[in-house]
């Protein structure tokens, strides 16, 4: 089966996210009511063949741990859907 895997990589909670702050500032300049928080991360979309969703997710998580995210500064989230 072909799966579309979406990997979301976000700066770790507690670490300064200057990009998020800059975007939050821009949004408040546009006049939006005060925001709880804005954080900027990265999305990576991967198409892959796998036996099932669990296999696709396991492979994607391995990719995250080895290269797509740096655990010192980033957390990641993996979601899988059939494409």
């Amino acid at each position: 089966m072909t799966f579309r895997v979406l990997v979301r990589v976000m700066p770790r909670q507690g670490l300064l996210d200057p990009q998020g702050q800059a975007v939050e500032h821009a949004l408040s300049t546009l006049g939006y009511p005060p925001l709880q928080s804005v954080r900027v991360g990265r999305a990576i979309e991967i198409g892959m063949e796998a036996a099932d969703a669990a296999e696709a997710e396991a492979r994607a998580r391995d990719m995250c741990e080895r290269v797509l995210a740096n655990p010192v500064m980033e957390d990641f989230h993996v979601s899988v859907e059939v494409s």
Binding site: P18, A22, V67, L68, N70, V72
Partner: protein
């Protein structure tokens, strides 16, 4: 003769001045291409600054997988000195040869200017020519220089004297680095990573030789490990 290998990745841009700074202390210096699997007999490896692989994904994240990094890992494991400058520091962190990581500067701007630093560890092959606590001014040029590490790692670095170079004060800290850290070393003191560019301050022609000590230290390290030849 002391041999210094200067790594070259696609996107690196400080290799020439690094090579020249190495030659200035009387070393044989040569480039090592990222696809090479040997360091060409280098006694010391320097990973220069630049933007390896365009900083894609994260600074240093892709370079870490280059074939040459296996040779660097072996060299480091055998106690061979490795210096990472700027992008080289980022690569060493991504390769787990040094702890922590370098994040986007706190004010989001690329910063290129001289900064005041304090040499806090002189027991390395790259800093022995300095005096402990010596203030020096070195050029920096980076957008991702904010050193971060978890609390335990920071505590360990401080307790073990592994902060090699520190920005002189909070006001001198150009990027928001934790504990004003500008450079650190591994547990053995053989692998050192720094954000400032000492190679850009090794020639009086450009106004400063404050960085020359990093390369003089390499020559001193090499001289000290040579067996004394019999005099009979």
């Amino acid at each position: 003769m002391l041999s210094i290998g200067v790594l070259r990745f696609p996107g690196i841009n400080c290799e020439e001045e690094t090579l020249r700074a190495a030659e200035r202390v009387g070393a044989e210096a040569h480039y090592v291409w990222h696809r090479d699997t040997s360091l060409g007999g280098a006694d010391v490896v320097v990973i220069p600054g630049g933007f390896s692989y365009g900083d894609y994904l994260r600074a240093g994240a892709i370079a870490r997988f280059s074939p040459v990094m296996a040779a660097v890992r072996d060299h480091a494991a055998a106690g061979g000195p490795v210096l990472g400058i700027c992008n080289g520091f980022q690569i060493l962190c991504e390769a787990h040869l040094l702890p922590g990581a370098l994040m986007r500067n706190h004010r989001l701007r690329y910063v290129s200017r001289p900064v005041r630093c304090i040499v806090e560890q002189t027991g390395t092959a790259f800093t022995s020519a300095y005096v402990h606590g010596q203030a020096i001014e070195l050029p920096i040029a980076h957008g991702d220089g904010r050193y971060v590490a978890d609390t335990d790692t920071l505590r360990m670095l401080e307790a073990e004297g592994r902060v090699v170079l520190r920005y002189a004060s909070d006001a001198d800290n150009p990027n928001g680095a934790m504990s004003n850290i500008a450079g650190i070393m591994n547990a053995g003191g053989t692998v050192v990573g720094i954000m400032p560019h000492p190679e850009r301050a090794t020639d009086p022609l450009v106004g400063s030789t404050d960085g020359a000590g990093f390369f003089i230290s390499i020559a001193d390290w090499y001289a000290l490990r040579q067996p004394v030849s019999p005099t009979s």
